[in-house]
Symmetry: C2
Subunit: 344 residues, 2 copies
């Protein structure tokens, strides 16, 4: 397995540019005044299909097309954004796509995937979806893996690349960690354009397989999908490919479910754009980091997307988190380390 | 009371341009394929303070400044978007603002108003807020009325004006009806640039004072704020000034609460931008109109804003409306007219 070169991100950016949106970089004057740092938000909710996943899927299929190696049929497994991204990318290059989705995937995401032109097959668990996709590959379809694929990683890196290309050199970049593809591409993008920037991943405490894998130095596999509201982080494991990049990050933060909900409400409120819980996950980690900094920092937070199923909306808005401002939250004592005193 | 000239809208657009956002015009390919019409959405959720109200408030205060008649102190009553708009506009021209808000106004809107630099006074009902604002005027403050003001009307008309100025001549324009200021300005904008376009207002059935006022030919006043989820349409009455324009509209539609919630969910889902219930109200009327059309129509729907309080989010997402697509909804039989058989 060869490493990707950082230049692959620049190549990917050029390749996919005509087919994706250059997404806006948002700031909240109010949030920055409360927290005393300069937070910048790359809003992938404005990306095609409403999530960054389109970048990787489009880069992979366009690369196959350039190499005259485009298969007749693509297969993918996904419970959400990757499904829609693969459907979009396959329609773009004119190949058939079959997406295997676990039954936990929301009806609205299944419908959207079909609307983008893919066929959808529904299975029981995530593990079953992966196995069924593998079967289809044996029958000759090409598996477009959501993160264990260099072209996908290079494509995902273009979100951060777009920001750095415009001349910004933030002190830190935060992104959520599912399979690790986004963080891998983000790491490469900063290596290319801003090597002094620190990169941080953020995982739900309930789905901290990446932290465990980094500590163990090998991929730790969960047996079933963790119950976190950040559905993009419900992946069962990272891969050996992405783990190599994850181990080079400055740190991976673990955050609890109430903090993910808190930042989902606040970012939706402040940024006036739909922010899915997996996006808010990154901000929850960025907030924990920023409050420990003694001088003003510039922090880039990569927001994964804006696709929120109705049942998730109900969970998000069950309690009112807007009653506690981020300014007040920042003044509250931080939790003691998990290792010495587990939190409720 | 002199009528405003349509040219006042063009003047207002030029005056306020440096201080407001030119908001995007959004389309959903999927929605249009389902409904067979070309729906365009003017997304005022991207406006300063997240709502179209900024246009009118800024135009009024800049006009006073041009006339060297700027008061030391502005007073306004509002339960939401006008409050924030007045605070923003007052800060812009450097005068003090006091906003009287009824206690039904959400905490988050009160906080936002304060964050834009205004003082906030909280009263009991809407009627009390209006009375308290009148008291403050007697003590020398200038009342910036949310709709009974020609400069405010001219400012609100600039949203539609921006769309028409770019050369569009839609078959119909829909906007929600609270006090009628937005519809009055919209009527004038079309008179100026696209007189063949039909203008429609939309009201909640539960807050149909504008329909009643148009029928009666005089302003009908509600005694208490109607219980509709479309909080921008909870105004107690239109004014004689706005009624003159409302009577020239093609029609005012009345829609029920489930339809407002339905379109709030669907527009948030399809447009990937926060759409408040008062915005969805306009779409609910546009949908009712469009399904009765036998040829494809171009329909401009003016979306008032994107400010949704957490308690409103809970009501919006209590049931899953995304299970019924607009395509399927369009195939359902329409309700029989209210006059002959009242609906549940």
């Amino acid at each position: 397995m060869n490493s990707l070169s950082p230049a692959a991100i620049a190549d990917a950016a050029q390749r996919i540019a005509p087919y994706i949106n250059t997404t806006p970089l948002l700031r909240s004057r109010l949030l920055n005044s409360w927290l005393g740092h300069d937070f910048l938000f790359k809003a992938e909710g404005f990306q095609k299909v409403g999530a960054f996943k389109t970048r990787g899927a489009v880069n992979a299929l366009l690369t196959l097309k350039e190499q005259r190696a485009l298969p007749d049929r693509i297969v993918a497994f996904s419970s959400g954004n990757h499904a829609q991204a693969v459907a979009y990318a396959a329609q773009l290059v004119g190949v058939e796509a079959m997406v295997v989705m676990p039954c936990e995937a929301s009806l609205v995401k299944r419908r959207a995937t079909i609307a983008y032109g893919a066929q959808v097959m529904v299975t029981g668990s995530r593990g079953e979806a992966e196995a069924r996709a593998a079967d289809l590959c044996e029958q000759g379809a090409y598996l477009l893996h959501p993160f264990d694929n260099d072209w996908v990683i290079a494509g995902q890196g273009t979100a951060c690349y777009e920001v750095l290309r415009d001349g910004l050199q933030p002190d830190a970049v935060f992104a959520s960690c599912g399979g690790g593809g986004w963080l891998s591409g983000t790491y490469l993008a900063t290596q290319l354009l801003s090597p002094g920037t620190s990169i941080y991943g953020v995982e739900p405490q309930r789905a901290n397989d990446a932290v465990k894998s980094c500590r163990a130095g090998r991929v730790i596999q969960l047996t079933e999908a963790p119950d976190t509201i950040a559905d993009g982080a419900r992946t069962l494991s990272v891969s050996a490919r992405t783990l190599r990049y994850l181990r080079r990050l400055s740190n991976i933060y673990e955050v609890d479910e109430p903090d993910i909900v808190y930042w989902t409400q606040w970012l939706n409120h402040l940024l006036k754009t739909p922010v899915e819980p997996t996006s808010a996950l990154a901000m929850a980690g960025a907030f924990d980091w920023a409050r420990s900094q003694h001088t003003p920092q510039q922090v880039l937070v990569l927001l994964s997307g804006g696709n929120i199923a109705p049942e998730t909306q109900r969970r998000i808005w069950a309690e009112d988190c807007l009653a506690t401002t981020p300014e007040r939250k920042a003044a509250q004592p931080t939790g003691v380390p998990v290792s010495t005193a587990p939190q409720a």
